[in-house]
């Protein structure tokens, strides 16, 4: 029964959502919308599970003084502080402590992490774009053309040449034709993969997300 009920729910709701896609009747769409709202509510409620897990894992680390337990104290303390200020005084009001911490701590931290990508791309490019084979050579040449063509420098370097020999034109051509073709090919394959997977889940053939086949 432990397995049968979730599978039955999956089947019924999966089939109903498929029906909703094809049947524009108001009654069907309204029921489908209700279900989507319920889905959102269930996922939102599950955040409590995540918070519980976070607290449990980090408390255990602190108690055992495992490697890096100082960071666990920081994690739990930050969470407590944000909860304390966000709860009673609200989160979006201009000038609230939560808003201040969000804009002056979380936003810069997120932007900093994101900007690490610039450095990592440089080190990855240095290491990875080696002329090991013909395909790698093709990748190398395309990468150089697109990187220079995407910035004003590329335009500047090829400014005297006929339009079809300029870096920006070559870049647009590479992006619009071979790149787009490959993109679409992978997307179509992936879409079919999604459909096959979806069918297996709805029919209960794929059960690993419930925790194994038995």
């Amino acid at each position: 029964m432990r397995r049968e009920i979730p599978l039955a729910i999956t089947f019924l709701i999966g089939v109903f959502m498929l029906v909703d896609f094809f049947v524009p009747h108001h009654g069907v769409s309204a029921a489908a919308e209700e279900m989507k709202q319920w889905g959102t509510i269930v996922i939102a409620a599950s955040i409590l599970l995540g918070v519980g897990n976070l607290i449990r894992v980090h408390f255990r680390k602190i108690r055992r003084k495992s490697d890096g337990w100082g960071y666990s104290i920081m994690t739990l303390a930050s969470m407590a502080v944000m909860l304390y200020f966000g709860g009673p005084w609200g989160t979006i009001e201009e000038g609230s402590a939560f808003n201040w911490m969000f804009l002056n701590m979380q936003v810069p931290l997120q932007s900093t992490m994101f900007s690490l990508l610039a450095f990592f791309i440089a080190s990855a490019a240095y290491r990875a774009f080696r002329l090991r084979s013909a395909e790698a050579g093709l990748l190398l040449i395309a990468a150089i053309i697109v990187m220079l063509g995407r910035v004003p420098l590329g335009q500047f370097l090829t400014r005297g040449l006929p339009e079809k020999a300029t870096l920006p034109w070559l870049t647009e051509t590479i992006m619009a034709y071979p790149n787009m073709a490959a993109f679409r090919g992978i997307l179509m394959g992936a879409a079919l993969g999604v459909m096959a997977m979806g069918l297996r889940i709805i029919l209960g053939i794929e059960r690993s997300y419930l925790g194994g086949e038995k």
């Binding site: 808003n99 932007s111 992490m113 679409r184």
Partner: protein
């Protein structure tokens, strides 16, 4: 065994330091490289220029602080464009972090152009639901956003008396960093309500939407910082994106140099190893 300095094993921190210098130097001493405008950006600009003064346009903010560097210049430039052409602006967001980011751009520009809140512009804030919200807006925008970002009931706002749904909106500018974003706006809004739709998105995401530009579902597309810089060029107002392009030019050139150096090191080492094997 290789002798001396092996370029293949260069310390990553040297690469990082060079990238840092390449980013900072053009910000201090700008190169002011000339910039051509690509067709998708030009088409977007031209479409907005065609809109009669007094019409109502919409700005959909669907991004968060991580992508602010690329997308905030687009938001600012579009608002500047709208206010310069006396278009009235309605802002609606599908991402929770977007309303304060759009406000940051909106308030100083409203003051600069002497625009009055509630009459010339309104920020409806964020509504959860993604696709559901878009469908709701197609039926009735006031019902989907009952209050604005500041809490004022939408039915009390003068500008919103003239806006019921997308039929009353002359153009939608969608600035997005992911999902829900451009794809949802094209699929749910443009194809259903045939509203004129333009988009600004990150450089990584832009190639995904070229098909929509080719098919005409998107009037135009701003791709990444370069798209934003080209838009600023058309408005003759060089802002953050234009300044950023110089830095981006130098860093891209530096990465090309790294790739070439990496290959020189690779081939030199291979030749050395072959010679030693003999």
């Amino acid at each position: 065994m290789s002798q001396g300095f092996d370029l293949r094993r260069i310390d990553r921190r040297i690469i990082f330091l060079l990238v840092l210098i390449a980013v900072v130097w053009p910000l201090i001493a700008p190169l002011r490289l000339p910039m051509d405008v690509s067709p998708p950006v030009q088409r977007l600009y031209d479409r907005i220029e065609e809109i009669p003064a007094g019409s109502i346009v919409m700005l959909a903010g669907d991004y968060s602080p991580d992508t602010m560097p690329e997308l905030q210049p687009m938001t600012e430039t579009f608002i500047r464009h709208a206010f310069r052409n006396d278009l009235r602006l309605v802002v609606a967001c599908l991402w929770p972090a977007s309303p304060p980011l759009v406000e940051r751009a909106l308030l100083p520009l409203a003051e600069e152009f002497g625009k009055v809140e509630g009459v010339d512009y309104v920020n409806l804030g964020y509504m959860a639901g993604g696709t559901v919200t878009l469908l709701g807006m197609g039926a009735s925008i006031p019902n989907t956003f009952p209050t604005d970002y500041g809490g004022t009931p939408v039915r009390d706002i003068p500008l919103m008396q003239e806006v019921e749904n997308f039929d009353d909106i002359a153009f939608v500018m969608e600035v997005s960093a992911g999902t829900p974003g451009t794809r949802e706006w094209v699929q749910q809004v443009q194809s259903r309500y045939r509203v004129s739709l333009g988009s600004g998105t990150t450089a990584v995401g832009a190639p995904n939407f070229y098909p929509y530009v080719q098919s005409g579902q998107l009037v135009g597309l701003l791709g990444g910082l370069k798209g934003a810089a080209e838009y600023e060029t058309l408005l003759e107002y060089p802002g953050d994106a234009t300044k950023g392009m110089d830095a981006q030019s130098v860093v891209h050139a530096l990465i090309v140099v790294f790739i070439i150096l990496g290959n020189i090191a690779y081939f030199a080492a291979r030749r050395r190893e072959r010679a030693e094997a003999r």
